[in-house]
């Protein structure tokens, strides 16, 4: 066997470049596989532990007002393990000269185990000294540079209430720290959670002995639907607003969705590399075997068994597979895995485990990589192995020329030069190999186009959202219904150019037994500061005889334009079934985040048959530079519950999606390696095989340039056919990728600009040229005398 290893080593040294390039492809494949999967495992394990340890609720019920005692009754429902009653309220707060919204959540005065518990990060839990102690969510605390002992003054019920910071904490309930479905990425500067003593907040809110939120933890495996129905029965009398299941809870579902989309990536990308590696191995092994068929015959004649010989040849793919797995695993965990987890931790707040190499991941990756390699190697040599020794010692029949279909296009064939004739004939003569070489380019294109598609779509979302839809500069929400005087007051403020009223509320939309809790935004039909677009991004007028829904909501409820639906409004008092209002679906509307019913204010008033006023306003300034001025003045207005600056919001969103760029870069890097390795190794084989032809052409007097173009033009041809196939496949892949990230509340339509196609094509051509540059030396160093000395 030692002699075999020696032979193997010499064969290997003869095609180092090829070995390296296929190894590189396997390494990248394993890297992606291990990297993405280790992030998934790390994230979901950390998440699950966190959710379990701090008892993330299975159901959240929100009511108008219920006595604390109701919690005990909920706990008697079969399947319910534990229930916690709280008051949850969003309030406004000024921090420095910025406005933020905080969600005030009550906790028991004395530490107790409860549902949706907190993990204390610093400071301490409430002591029994003063009532106004507060524990701040740690991200909000850090981002706003707060300190323990600091007094915060949120505006609660129209009054400034002093709260003293005693500690910081995080909770699985806010693993993704967004306020609601309308936000896409967390903005810790402007949203946070403040935990306060229940008794204190009850007295501030005039809610003595009452709560408005019940979080429920179920026993494992119990029936969620049943528990939910039972809860409804108990809570209906207290003005039940809604019951949200864990899978729909905004933070949990964001977390879960991003794990799902990671899984989609983990399933798609590594396979591209493994297939490409298998193809390169197959082609290189075919060549090696064809060149060595006489040797194989001799070995067999000498008495070596098929198994011995097979083992010898499989050393190559085995080595590629094993080395690739080892290197890829280490790099995958520590580069992709660490990087990706690090990126995800920017979005999610949870105690994350230390990154480590996990045998449970490395083994399947190695198995996958090795089996792709070995299978390719086996397929490449099985034919020769089962030939009789005498047969394999014979020369293979000389390569036969054949007319290719292009020659039938006489005019074309006559007018191209001989170099192109050689190139075209070779390309079509080795159809299978050409196709396989093109595959590398196809995959490379797929990676590039889906990477750019991902980026384009994200960018387009930002652009449409912030410049085509939202044309206001500042948006304010009020904690009460607004009247005309108040609107006029804002209108008359200095620097305010125009003000448009908005009604924002929650509704339950139902079609038969299917229902969904969504938001409702009502605008004046001519709304100019918030444009409504249809799903083809065309501006539309808000109808005054119906509502607009995002296409995905229509699909979820099996609705089409013209159908009737029922809306139940969450306006205090308006929450009985009899208060359901019939409305007509008039069209679709583009919504990137959140699910909203869009309608005109008049239509809502017509439905509710009462002069319902508005509770928010979009404000346009004469000049955006005056934003701070105006916001300062608006802050004085205690009835305003939130003030949002669009530029801040847009800024935060752009910053929020920035880390995604690293995914795009990783994909581009993968594409480079794929294209390069495929072209390089396949052309390398081509050159090795055609030394004699190249030497002959050189003797005839072909210049270096002409010689190179014989090989290079074929590479360009391979590249071109890969591009032609890669473009539609890349588009499909981009669509698949975005679909993986699209959820109920998040929707990113695929946008692929023509420049992305052009850049992808240029990049692939560039990689081909780079591979060519490396190959040039090989072509020019072919020794004419040596190559032509004897019959091969």
């Amino acid at each position: 066997m030692r002699i075999f290893l020696k032979k193997f080593y010499r064969d290997l040294m003869e095609s180092k470049g090829q070995f390296m390039s296929v190894l590189l492809v396997v390494i990248v494949g394993v890297m992606f596989y291990i990297g993405i999967n280790s992030s998934i495992v790390n994230l979901s394990e950390s998440g699950n532990k966190y959710f379990e340890n701090y008892r993330l609720a299975d159901l959240w019920a929100s009511v108008y007002r219920a006595p604390e005692g109701v919690v005990k009754r909920i706990e008697t429902i079969p399947g319910v393990k534990m229930a916690t009653g709280r008051i949850v309220r969003d309030v406004r707060i000024s921090i420095g000269d910025r406005e933020a919204i905080v969600r005030i959540i009550t906790l028991p005065d004395e530490k107790r185990f409860n549902v949706n518990d907190i993990q204390l990060k610093s400071g301490s839990y409430f002591s029994n000294e003063s009532g106004n102690q507060a524990i701040i969510s740690s991200d909000f605390y850090k981002t706003n540079k707060l300190y323990i002992g600091q007094i915060l003054e949120p505006i609660i019920n129209g009054d400034r209430v002093k709260l003293k910071i005693v500690g910081t904490a995080q909770s699985p309930e806010y693993v993704y720290g967004i306020k609601d479905g309308s936000e896409m990425v967390p903005d810790y500067k402007s949203f946070g959670v403040i935990y306060v003593k229940q008794s204190f907040f009850q007295s501030v809110m005039d809610y003595k002995g009452s709560i408005d939120d019940i979080s429920v933890l179920l026993n494992k495996g119990s029936d969620i639907k049943k528990a939910k129905d039972e809860m409804k029965k108990v809570l209906n009398q207290y003005g039940l607003v809604n019951i949200v299941e864990r899978k729909n809870q905004i933070a949990y579902s964001s977390f879960d969705d991003s794990i799902k989309s990671l899984k989609g990536m983990a399933a798609a990308f590594p396979i591209l590399f493994f297939i490409a590696a298998a193809v390169i191995i197959y082609i290189s092994m075919r060549r090696m075997i064809e060149n060595q068929r006489t040797q194989i015959g001799v070995l067999k004649a000498l008495g070596y068994s098929n198994f011995d010989i097979m083992l010898h040849y499989q050393t190559y793919p085995l080595l590629v597979g094993v080395l690739g797995s080892i290197i890829g695993s280490v790099l995958g965990v520590f580069i992709i895995g660490k990087g990706l987890t690090g990126m995800l931790v920017k979005y999610f707040t949870l105690p994350i485990q230390e990154t480590r190499i996990d045998a449970g991941l490395v083994l399947p990756a190695a198995l996958l990589a090795v089996s792709f390699c070995v299978l390719a190697g086996y397929t490449a040599c099985k034919k020769e192995l089962y030939l009789a020794p005498a047969e394999s010692m014979k020369q293979e029949a000389p390569a036969s020329g054949k007319n290719i279909f292009l020659e039938n296009a006489r005019l074309f064939w006559k007018n191209i030069n001989s170099i192109w004739k050689i190139v075209l004939k070779n390309f079509f003569r080795y159809k299978r190999r050409s196709a396989m070489a093109s595959l590398g380019i196809v995959f490379s294109m797929v990676l590039l186009i889906s990477a750019f598609g991902f980026k384009n779509s994200m960018d387009a979302t930002v652009n449409v959202q912030f410049s085509e839809m939202q044309k206001f500069d500042v948006k304010v929400n009020f904690s009460k219904i607004l009247d005309n005087d108040e609107l006029n007051f804002i209108r008359s403020m200095e620097h305010v150019q125009s003000v448009e009223p908005v009604l924002e509320t929650g509704v339950e939309i139902s079609n038969g037994w299917m229902k969904k809790n969504v938001g409702l935004t009502a605008l004046n039909p001519g709304s100019a500061l918030l444009s409504v677009l249809d799903e083809d991004s065309r501006p539309i007028r808000i109808p005054d005889n119906g509502i607009l829904l995002p296409e995905r909501l229509m699909r979820a409820l099996y609705l089409k334009v013209g159908d009737k639906v029922y809306l139940r409004f969450y306006y205090p008092g308006e929450n009985e079934d009899k208060d359901k209002k019939e409305a007509i679906v008039a069209g679709n509307s583009l919504q990137y985040s959140g699910l909203n019913v869009i309608s005109s204010i008049d239509y809502i008033n017509y439905l509710l048959k009462e002069g319902l006023a508005v509770n928010a306003a979009n404000i346009k300034l004469d000049n955006p530079v005056n934003e701070n001025d105006v916001m300062q003045k608006l802050k004085e207005y205690q009835a305003i519950s939130t003030i949002q600056s669009k530029s801040e919001f847009a800024e935060n969103y752009k910053k929020g999606i920035e880390p995604m760029n690293s995914i795009v870069y990783a994909m581009i890097l993968g594409a480079i390696i794929l294209a390069f390795a495929a072209i390089y190794s396949i052309a390398n084989i081509n050159i090795l095989e055609r030394r004699r032809e190249i030497a002959t052409l050189s003797v005839i007097g072909f210049t270096s340039r002409e010689l190179k173009s014989v090989i290079f033009n074929e590479n360009y041809l391979i590249c071109a056919s890969g591009i032609v196939l890669g473009i539609p496949l890349g588009r499909l892949m981009a669509e698949y990728m975005l679909n993986m990230t699209n959820t109920d509340t998040m929707y990113t339509p695929l946008v692929l600009s023509s420049s992305s196609y052009i850049i992808s094509v240029l990049l692939v051509v560039l990689f081909t040229m780079m591979a060519n540059a490396l190959l040039a030396k090989k072509i020019l160093s072919i020794d004419m005398v040596e190559s032509l000395k004897s019959r091969e």
Binding site: P398, S400, K425, F702, M784, V785
Partner: protein, 234 residues
Amino acid sequence: MAPIIIVKDVIKEYEMGEVKTRVADGISFEVNEGEMVVVLGPSGAGKSTVLNILGGIDFPTSGEIWVDGNDIARFNRKELTMYRRKHVGFVFQFYNLMPNLTALENVEIATQICDKPLDAVSVLKEVGLEGRMGSFPSQLSGGEQQRVSIARAVAKNPTLLLCDEPTGALDYVTGKSILKLLGDVNRQGKKTIIIITHNASIAQMADKVVKIKNGKVESVKLNANPLPVERIEW
């Protein structure tokens, strides 16, 4: 008449580790325009080496090779390529045709890069392949393949035709017809031809016979009355 080729003191050494082997050890001879020269010598004597140097596909260690007034030993790579392109036609023992091009295309590949090529079709007719122009090398016999390779060399309309054992892989009758073809090219086409062979009888058709042994020219003989191939038997 001034000689068109002057080979002067050509030395070719190969270095293998510490050892230097001299495979051409001061080779000198001259060839006049339109001459048919036969090079004879035992195997390993250095015949191919000299021919390759003369054809611009190998380099001498030292010495001068004057062709048409230029010393090609001093040519750089690019000049050598142009030299091969314009002045040299090569015929090898193993034809070296492009396997996936037809006979005609194999000739055209050469004519396309020259300044004053002959018409590929008529050259193929002249070598007797009128009916096989569309055939691929694998569909042709050895002799026919060698005809294509001669046609390829001739169609370039080169200054000199270099043939390294052109009949080495062929049977007697086919070999003879190939030599006749080369004879015709020499007489009718007025081409300077150098043929390497192991067959001493062929020397009878040459104007000049150069014998090489151990990397040295053993003798140069002029043949006052070269015989046509048909009259030579071996």
